[in-house]
Symmetry: C2
Subunit: 270 residues, 2 copies
């Protein structure tokens, strides 16, 4: 017990040393303020918003909790007033697409905010790099085909929470600050069906027999067979769900291409 | 096609007639305003907040969608500032208990708001009556043991949405209006484990063998056996989950009572 206490004290001392040196290594709070276009009265809020729990005790988790609610209301409000006839089910879908992990992680990347996140997660920088490399292929949203680091989305929510608190709980101020950061807004027209749903619907329409073969443990791949023929596969080692989405998406594209070739051939024979 | 159009027109005419007669039958908007202590600038918002989709086209569903987000932020905000050291996981639990269906349905009942809900759901009034009869046994929250009509909770959320809109999206005004309506607030100390969790934990501690016997389809009951002995059961016909929660709760109480009798007997022999 005493040992633990000593150790805790030791850790705390190290933390304090680090925190001092980190203040020097992290002189860039004002750069963050420039990016988001908001001057914090209480700079410690901003600092906390950019501090991951791996880094030190006072992390952004509580701010993220609050910011999540603030963001949800702001988007619900925008969609409610902007779409007077939209039923609640579609309002829900619209908001979900505009506040999900990938959408918010893109915000962190687009505005270089990720550079200012203080953390001690050895793998995170690599994950962010990989995410950034994957973005260009999907200009707005990949719909589950790429792996967005949740820490980046959390950081955006914590920033929103920090602005909300610093502005005396002003929805107006918070919205003015974050509105442009959240662009491009995902509209109803941009909402796409999930890759797996899309693939199943296509196959159902053409009465194709579908089979997914799970080789994920062995090779990180999931293969797709349609009417017993191999049509595509998806790979992603860290997360099976993304491999599955990619497999469905790949198979969908192959089938659509084959169908259009068949159609063309038919036209040629006409 | 023409037929449908005619029919639609007919329905609309009926609706209009009804809506006129209902304005007479529903002169009580000002009573609602007195109960909640807020004067609506736009009375149509209040009327819509108290109109179920079974009643007519312009129902409360969109207001409920917005109100849900407003309520979530208001409670998140209260808990965030009121509990400076509470980690996000516990903040989440605290909020969930204060905004769930049963909690909000209780608000509708406590303040007689349910009386003003316009609907054409034949069974709803009976469900509300049953809910009201069950409340006295659980002063704050039943934790899944009684069936709270979701329409009542939705109506409370739609009222919150209506106040938010009518007050020009003022969180302050909305909070001032609803704060006392939402009393009693469920605190951390009042948060209880779910009946099924509680029961399993107790049995695990004493190394009891647990068995649930599902007779729900046959008789609406779920029976509980501990070490092959019948210890309790739960019944609820409309919803199996509530029957299960009641079974676990009943069995828990029986076991706790038996254990204390055993303890007393032991004491007697000492």
């Amino acid at each position: 017990m005493e040992d633990n206490k000593d150790q805790a004290q030791l850790v705390r001392l190290q933390d304090e040393e680090e925190s001092e040196s980190m203040t020097e290594l992290f002189p860039s709070l004002d750069e963050v303020e420039q990016i988001i276009g908001y001057d914090f009265k209480d700079k410690s809020l901003l600092r906390r918003a950019f501090t991951h729990s791996s880094y030190r005790d006072e992390s952004y988790e509580r701010l993220e909790y609050l910011g999540d609610s603030v963001l949800n209301l702001l988007i619900a409000s925008r969609d409610y007033f902007g779409n007077p006839d939209l039923p609640p089910g579609r309002l829900t879908r619209l908001r979900a697409a505009n506040v999900d992990t990938e959408k918010l992680a893109r915000v962190a990347v687009k505005h270089d905010l990720y550079k200012y996140l203080r953390h001690k997660k050895p793998l995170l920088d690599g994950q962010i790099r990989e995410f950034m490399d994957a973005i260009p292929e999907y200009p707005f949203h990949s719909n589950g085909l790429i792996d967005a680091p949740k820490d980046l989305a959390d950081m955006v929510e914590s920033t929103i929470g920090a602005i909300f608190i610093d502005s005396n709980s002003s929805l107006d101020t918070t919205w003015k600050v974050i509105k442009s950061l959240l662009e491009p807004r995902i509209t109803l027209a941009m909402l796409q069906a999930h890759p797996v749903t899309k693939f199943y619907e296509l196959c159902q329409k053409h009465r194709f027999k579908v089979q997914f073969v799970d080789l994920w443990k062995e090779s990180g791949a999931i293969e797709v067979f349609v009417d017993n023929k191999f049509v595509g596969k998806g790979m992603y080692n860290p997360k099976k769900l993304i491999a599955l989405n990619r497999a469905a998406n790949n198979a969908y594209n192959v089938i659509v291409k084959n169908l259009s070739i068949e159609d063309n051939n038919k036209d040629d024979h006409d």
